[in-house]
Point group: C2
Chain length 221, copies 2
């Protein structure tokens, strides 16, 4: 096995973001399950590598990191010559191309993620945990997400992917939450927008993401 270890369950959106990135980059990794129902993410040992008590945590030889988007950037920089080489912009694309990926990766983190995370919790995790759904929160965040997707629709009319003609970390970062929102019965947010629908079909059919979905369906060892 390689030197890379991911700590956390694949069903976590943030964990699955890192797994998709590692698979795109053809980086071999170990996956150590963290049983959140047993509060393993709040244990003293885990807090040493993830002080917020969240998943994932990440280790590559002597380097430990947290925050899924920071981990993804590190993987792309460290393993620049392996697998998909254009996740942070094409090698010859220079810093402007990287900046366009960063711009849409930040749009994901700042505009797409807040409402979509709430929807993921309400639509997917609350029912699994036996918690009641909050219909007002669903309506409110569906509205917020719709406005974000309206901007994406205009962008995706201009270019095949968010940051240009190549699939990048900016697109990849949208996969986890979008997957749960669609599975939770809100496909229409995506299918009602022509270019967003086309984009989702293309990015979600990538072998890397299909493999992550398969891992999510497999109970942890």
């Amino acid at each position: 096995m390689g030197s890379v270890t991911v700590y956390g369950p694949p069903i976590s959106p943030a964990v699955s973001r890192v797994l998709a990135c590692l698979l795109e980059k053809d980086v071999v990794f170990n996956l150590v399950n963290i049983d959140m129902s047993k509060a393993q993410h709040k244990s003293p040992d885990f807090l040493k590598i993830q002080p917020f008590g969240q998943v994932p945590a990440f280790q590559d030889e002597h380097t430990t990191l947290f925050e899924s988007r920071a981990i993804c950037r590190y993987i792309c920089d460290k393993y620049a010559d392996r697998g998909n080489r254009s996740l942070l912009g094409r090698r010859g694309g220079g810093l402007v191309e990287r900046a366009h990926v960063e711009q849409w990766l930040e749009a994901e983190g700042q505009s797409f993620n807040p409402p979509s995370s709430t929807l993921v919790f309400q639509l997917a995790f609350a029912p699994q945990m036996g918690l009641p759904q909050d219909p007002a929160a669903i309506v409110l965040n569906e509205g917020k997400l719709a406005k974000v997707l309206d901007v994406y629709e205009r962008q995706l009319q201009e270019s095949r992917f968010l940051a240009g003609d190549e699939f990048s970390l900016a697109d990849l970062s949208h996969l986890p939450n979008s997957h749960y929102i669609r599975a939770g019965g809100k496909e229409e947010l995506f299918t009602s927008r022509k270019h967003v629908a086309r984009w989702w079909e293309e990015i979600s059919m990538r072998p890397s993401w299909q493999k992550v979905v398969e891992m999510q369906r497999t109970p942890p060892a």
Copy 2:
């Protein structure tokens, strides 16, 4: 004047993040005010460079960008040899040092920013706009922010700055919201934590940030 233009009012936290970065990097820039009270950020021309209708937007010759943290990364990469050279990790620090900056910059964006943004609105902007404050929202987000700052306290006991011994973009990115929260009467969130207090004193006294505060006090031309 240089080729760099920032669009947006300095009183906006996201605009001031970019200004602080440009000042650290000794990059000359033009500042174009966007009068949000006249909805200039929703005008068709502005939406061409900032499709979400938010501030700031940024231009450097033919490159336009949005999202303050993405703009800051671009400035650091483009003007690598100017001004402060360790905002994304020291030049010889390699990708692990950059990854540690990215990790804490993401912690700012994902953990610190959500509760602190709400507090900034409630404590600073709502009174200015003649809107009533929401005491429950203040209490809730103060509690959330306190938990984040508890993690920072432990980190800042280990190192002078969040990502190590050098001031970085991760520290800089906390200045705008922290400034308003302190000015809004909630200094204690910072002063009650020994290492957070020491850190805040050091980062807020930097000439770059002092200059931004001065710009915030100057009415737009």
